[in-house]
């Protein structure tokens, strides 16, 4: 289409689009409108009008775009070649679909076939894929570039987006992330954007990161482009250069502060708060203050909750963002924020973000000191008012005392009963009743009965065990019995079992030796990998089968095994020597397991042990070189948290050597773990030459491209 337009309009189109993407859509549109007025060529008018629609589409102003299509473009139809008219129809479809409206999309698709129009150049895509597979970028880059130009000239947005996506991938493959950013944002495809973000984090050089961030800032003024920009940003926000961080934060905060009048704008605001939650830990005091002001003055924060069906879905993200930056907040803001958050809990409570609000209050209590805690306690723990599971759990955070703590023991039988109801066998005609704390339930028919399995939350159990010192031994026995029964129940979901095992990790300091051994009897086979999956629900292998279109993950046996090892280690930590050497043998096997999750949790178990043997040390140091970053991370964690770590010279050298290797890793979490471990352990190194080596390493990590590594190294 564009190739047959006049050069004047072609130049104006690039200028208008450029202006719009750079943040000035009004000027871009008005320049085109002026040309439409002065031009007599119908194709020029059509090209300009389509670009106006495209700019509006980029800015989530699809209603306005649709009006342009229907009032100004549609009357012109019937006078252009079929390829152009089809491109127009497809573009209109994009706008319609953005507005969640139906149109004759498939009719247009059929028209493409009948007309023999080639909107997508499949031959080019195949050529690109083949050249790329053979590493022939000198062939694939020009091919995809030509396809990008073809699609641009054609004027149909969909093929242009696809070509942009391929171009983004190509630029990534060539190590040009700063160029890939532009194409990925235009492509508007989440997967490519996320890959690019990850690529930047893993492979971005300081120069690339700086140029990429600058390009990101250039291209994310319009709302739709911003949303895709956030998909990239989430991947590399840790690597945003400090000097550009404030500008990035301001871009996201500005979008987050926008009052949303329709669902598209709402999704933009929601996406902005999502990204802020990831950025928040990097905020300075001023930035944190700006963010808090933005949140509490936002219409969504202050909206009334009307009726049971309305959900203000962004509030949880706002609170998560604030939770992540509370430590940077100035005191005066803490006080204000406490009041504003209490209002969300007491006056405008929503179930979906209630836990987030409680979490934020806990963090505000931590940073706000006694005053803040007192105000929160007075507001939430009023005499005579029953406590829900969340408030019960966090009562100690605010120094709130339970009025009758011994009453918890008398309530245990109800809790145990509820745990046992996770799996129920009912008559076929029985109606399934919702279980408190259950997210959902599965049903299956077997042997003429109805099997009901509830997927549960253990908030209640955790809450009670937060006050375990007040529980009688008998009450603890009831709780252990019920949980072990459900852990051994063949049809219970693995995820339920994982949660129950996690609850058990805190009973070590209150249970008897006999109870600890009772737990060991049940958990040790699981910790050794003897796990039978339920027969009536989908197995973990099936839920991960790439050919299975209906994946219903209900927990991996390896996760259960790892959690069982960790829980036993926690009980051993609180009752030293209770499992004698049996647990060591389990951990030792776990450290060399094939499954990374088992290895990582075995390392976490090692961390909980007060001391480590020489052979364990060797295994842990080896694990810092694990190919799985999570395992290496856990290995560093196991070393960093040893209070009484006593190492000889060769062991320190080994540790420093592995930390140096980790500092070269592409995985940020590994570099971060190395930085954390070195800064934690450096004071324990008595040999000055070795300590200097660690200091040099920490100096280099303090200059890492990722802020989280720098933060842990300093």
């Amino acid at each position: 289409m564009l190739k047959n337009s006049s050069p004047e309009i072609r130049i104006a189109i690039t200028a208008a689009k450029g202006l719009a993407i750079l943040g000035n859509p009004s000027d871009g549109i008005s320049q085109l409108e002026n040309l439409i007025l002065s031009s007599s060529a119908k194709l020029d008018k059509l090209s300009a009008l389509l670009v106006i629609c495209e700019i509006l589409h980029y800015d989530y102003r699809d209603n306005e775009g649709l009006e342009v299509f229907d009032k100004r473009i549609s009357p012109m139809m019937g006078e252009f070649p079929e390829e152009i008219e089809i491109a127009v129809e497809f573009n209109r479809s994009d706008v319609m679909h953005s507005l969640l409206k139906n149109d004759d999309f498939y009719g247009t698709a059929d028209r493409v076939t009948v007309a023999g129009v080639e909107l997508w150049n499949h031959r080019a895509y195949y050529g690109v894929a083949e050249a790329r597979e053979q590493g022939k970028h000198y062939e694939s880059l020009p091919s995809i570039w030509r396809e990008l130009m073809r699609a641009y000239y054609q004027g149909c947005w969909r093929p242009y987006r696809l070509a942009s996506k391929l171009m983004a991938t190509e630029c990534m493959g060539l190590g040009w992330p700063h160029e890939a950013i532009y194409h990925a944002i235009i492509a508007g495809e989440k997967g490519t954007a996320a890959k690019l973000g990850e690529f930047l984090l893993l492979h971005g050089s300081p120069e690339n990161l700086s140029r990429s961030t600058a390009k990101w800032l250039e291209c994310t003024h319009l709302k739709r482009l911003f949303v895709t920009g956030c998909d990239i940003l989430d991947g590399f926000m840790d690597a945003i250069p400090d000097e550009q961080f404030d500008e990035v934060f301001e871009r996201v905060r500005t979008m987050a502060s926008m009052p949303s009048s329709n669902w598209q704008e709402h999704s933009c605001v929601s996406r902005a708060w999502n990204s802020i939650a990831g950025l928040a830990w990097r905020l300075s005091a001023t930035q944190a203050q700006r963010l808090a002001d933005t949140a509490i003055s936002h219409p969504i924060w202050n909206a009334e909750v009307e009726g049971g069906n309305r959900v203000l879905s962004v509030r949880d993200k706002m609170m998560n963002s604030l939770t992540a930056c509370t430590s940077a907040l100035p005191q005066k803001n803490v006080s204000q924020l406490v009041d504003k958050t209490l209002a969300l809990v007491l006056e405008r409570k929503q179930h979906n973000d209630y836990p987030d609000a409680i979490e934020l209050l806990c963090r505000l209590g931590d940073v706000g000191g006694d005053d803040a805690k007192k105000r929160i306690k007075e507001a939430l723990y009023t005499p005579g008012k029953p406590l829900d599971a969340y408030l019960l759990q966090v009562a100690p955070n605010f120094d709130a005392k339970l009025k009758e703590p011994e009453s918890l023991s008398s309530d245990i039988s109800n809790v145990a009963d509820r745990i046992r109801k996770q799996v129920q066998w009912l008559p076929l005609s029985a109606e399934v009743k919702q279980l408190g704390g259950s997210f959902c339930f599965f049903t299956a028919i077997k042997d003429g009965k109805k099997l009901v399995i509830h997927s549960i939350s253990t908030v209640q159990e955790h809450a009670i065990l937060r006050h375990r010192k007040h529980l009688s031994l008998d009450a603890i026995q009831q709780l252990i019995d019920a949980m072990l029964e459900m852990i051994t129940e063949p049809e219970n979901l693995i995820n339920n079992k994982i949660q129950l095992v996690q609850v058990l990790k805190s009973v070590g300091d209150v249970c008897s030796d006999a109870q600890a051994k009772q737990i060991f009897e049940v958990l040790s086979p699981i910790a050794n990998g003897i796990i039978k999956e339920p027969a009536l629900t989908q197995s973990a292998a099936d839920s991960q089968n790439p050919l299975n279109p209906f994946k219903m993950g209900s927990g991996k046996p390896t996760d259960l095994r790892g959690v069982a090892i960790f829980t036993l280690a926690c009980i051993e930590r609180d009752k030293p020597g209770i499992f004698t050497n049996s647990l060591d043998a389990i951990i030792e096997v776990g450290l060399t397991e094939i499954d990374p999750q088992v290895r990582a949790l075995s390392l976490a178990a090692s961390r909980e042990k007060p001391s480590i043997s020489e052979s364990e040390f060797t295994a842990i140091v080896l694990a810092t070189r694990d190919s799985d970053p999570a395992v290496a991370n856990a290995a560093f964690g196991a070393l960093a948290h040893k209070k009484d770590l006593q190492l000889n010279r060769p062991q320190w050298r080994l540790l420093i050597h592995t930390a140096k290797l980790a500092a070269q890793s592409n995985a940020v979490s590994v570099r971060r773990a190395a930085a954390y471990t070195c800064s934690k352990l450096r004071t324990k190194i008595k040999i000055s030459t070795l300590r200097k080596e660690v200091d040099t390493l920490l100096d280099s990590l303090a200059k890492d491209r990722c802020a989280s590594v720098r933060q842990n190294a300093s």
Binding site: I11, G18, N24, S26, A124, L148, H221
Partner: protein, 502 residues
């Protein structure tokens, strides 16, 4: 009628009177009207068709006329013969069930498919028969064997080889009787008569017609008249559509109807031309004020469109086959020239060889053998282009580069593209070969993703551009590559930053 003698006329009148009751049987109610009125119509159309012929030296003689007019009344008689089980045509089918026990629909179907043969058999059996099934004994005056041949030939399919052979066999010209001409006239008159008869809605409403039969009905319903213009030698088919649907029906119905008749005329073009029966078919549309013409049901319109689509797909297929044939036929000739050139390579100077190769390449390109055109020339040009004088080298190189660009293989110019760019600089900037070459080089760099080189080449091309239009076009390309590679400030024409919207 063009019959001269009273005896001939009375033969025909007698025949009409005898066959009319049989034709009125109407045992094919789902078919369009095939009563004696149809036969009258066919003979009227024969009159019109042969009007100019009868004024010429090639006019039909009395015997031919008797045969032809008799065939007009007898060709469809087999359609109405309910006792067709007695005929050899049906007996030869060796049906599993006896004729009388066949389902009625199947009997009608067989009659419809084979009525031409049954008619012929009925005519043949009536010669000297004491109890003729056509109601009268046909004497030799009628030339009954020729009539039978015309009856059979009127429904043979030219697309079916066996039918075609049979047609040729039974329409062999006899002494003084031009059977192919008579058969052609009967077939064209029959098809024109079928298309012009206004199908009646009341009758159609009483029948449960399948959609194919409905299409048939509606096509005839909208055919208002068939007229002949002896001066212009045109046959005009007049259509009448309901005003509200005039535009949409005009695009469908005539397109279905006209090729059907046109194809029949074309089948007999050779014999008609030989004897001066030259008619051209045309279509005229009418939208009458206050017309009460009814609209078709949607499913019929859809079925018509589906049939049109099928026809167009067939046409496309045929066109492709023709193109492919032309391509196949022209390739060996050019290949032969290429082989000849190869043999002369040692004899010819490198310059002459290359210039002749350019000719072969151009010819290959012209017949659509584009890849071969490029591959024939590109390597030899790369190796030997220095033997051409500068302006010819640039001219050929430019064309070859354009071909590579059009085919999406710009990398084939990698070996000599830069040399071409250097060469063009040696020419006077006003030389007519310079600007096209620089413009093509700019496109070549763009296609190869060489942004900086492309921008420099565009600047060079602008410097030698012959007019403002070309300069504007080159500037547009520059802006576009800037935008497409994300140089937004440059594309927007603002290098000092862009103010954001409030």
């Amino acid at each position: 009628m063009h019959l001269d003698g009273e005896s001939s006329r009375s033969l025909l009148v007698n025949l009409r009177n005898k066959v009319a009751p049989i034709l009125d049987n109407n045992i094919q109610p789902h078919f369009t009207d095939h009563s004696v009125l149809h036969s009258d119509g066919v003979s009227q159309l024969v009159d019109a068709l042969i009007g100019p012929l009868q004024k010429s030296d090639e006019r039909l003689n009395q015997t031919e006329l008797v045969i032809l007019y008799s065939a007009c009344y007898l060709h469809d008689i087999g359609l109405q013969y309910e006792n067709a089980g007695q005929t050899k045509t049906i007996a030869d089918l060796n049906l599993g069930l006896p004729w009388d026990e066949q389902p009625e629909a199947e009997r009608r179907n067989l009659l419809r498919r084979l009525h031409h043969k049954i008619s012929a058999e009925m005519v043949h059996s009536s010669v000297r028969s004491e109890d003729p099934i056509i109601g009268m004994q046909l004497t030799q005056d009628y030339e009954p064997s020729k009539i039978a041949c015309l009856c059979e030939s009127h429904n043979l399919y030219f697309e079916v080889e066996r039918d075609m052979n049979r047609y040729m066999e039974i329409t062999t010209d006899g002494p003084e009787i031009r059977m192919q001409l008579l058969a052609g006239l009967l077939r064209v008159a029959d098809i024109l008569e079928e298309s012009r008869r206004r199908a009646t809605r009341p009758k159609a409403n009483t029948l449960m017609l399948d959609v194919t039969s409905q299409m048939h009905w509606w096509r005839h319903y909208y055919t208002k008249e068939v007229t002949f213009d002896k001066h212009d030698k045109t046959i005009t088919i007049w259509f009448d559509f309901p005003p509200a649907k005039f535009n949409s029906y005009s695009r469908v119905v005539p397109e279905l109807q006209k090729p059907w008749i046109e194809a029949e005329l074309n089948r007999h073009a050779a014999v008609f031309n030989r004897f001066g029966v030259t008619w051209t078919l045309q279509v005229r549309l009418k939208a009458e004020e206050y017309s009460d013409t009814e609209t078709m049901p949607y499913e019929v319109v859809t079925a018509m469109m589906a049939e049109l689509r099928a026809r167009h797909l067939d046409e496309d297929e045929r066109r492709r086959a023709v193109l492919l044939n032309t391509f196949r036929e022209s390739r060996p000739q050019i290949d032969g020239r290429f082989d000849h050139l190869q043999n002369q390579k040692e004899v010819l100077s490198p310059q002459d060889y290359l210039l002749k190769l350019v000719e072969v390449s151009n010819d290959l390109w012209t017949i659509g053998s584009k890849r071969s055109a490029i591959m024939t020339l590109v390597f030899d040009f790369g190796k030997n282009c220095q033997h051409l004088v500068a302006c010819k080298r640039i001219e050929v190189g430019t064309r070859l580069m354009e071909m590579c660009l059009e085919e999406g293989i710009p990398e084939l110019a990698n070996g000599w593209g830069i040399v071409l760019q250097q060469n063009v600089r040696t020419l006077d900037p006003n030389h007519p070969a310079v600007f096209p070459c620089l413009r093509t080089i700019a496109d070549w760099f763009i296609a190869l993703c060489g942004y900086d080189e492309a921008k420099a080449a565009i600047a060079q091309a602008i410097a030698s551009a012959p007019d403002d239009a070309n300069i504007a076009l080159l500037n547009a390309k520059r802006c576009e590559i800037e935008f497409l590679q994300g140089e937004l400030h440059a594309a927007s024409g603002n290098t000092e930053g862009v103010a954001q919207d409030a």
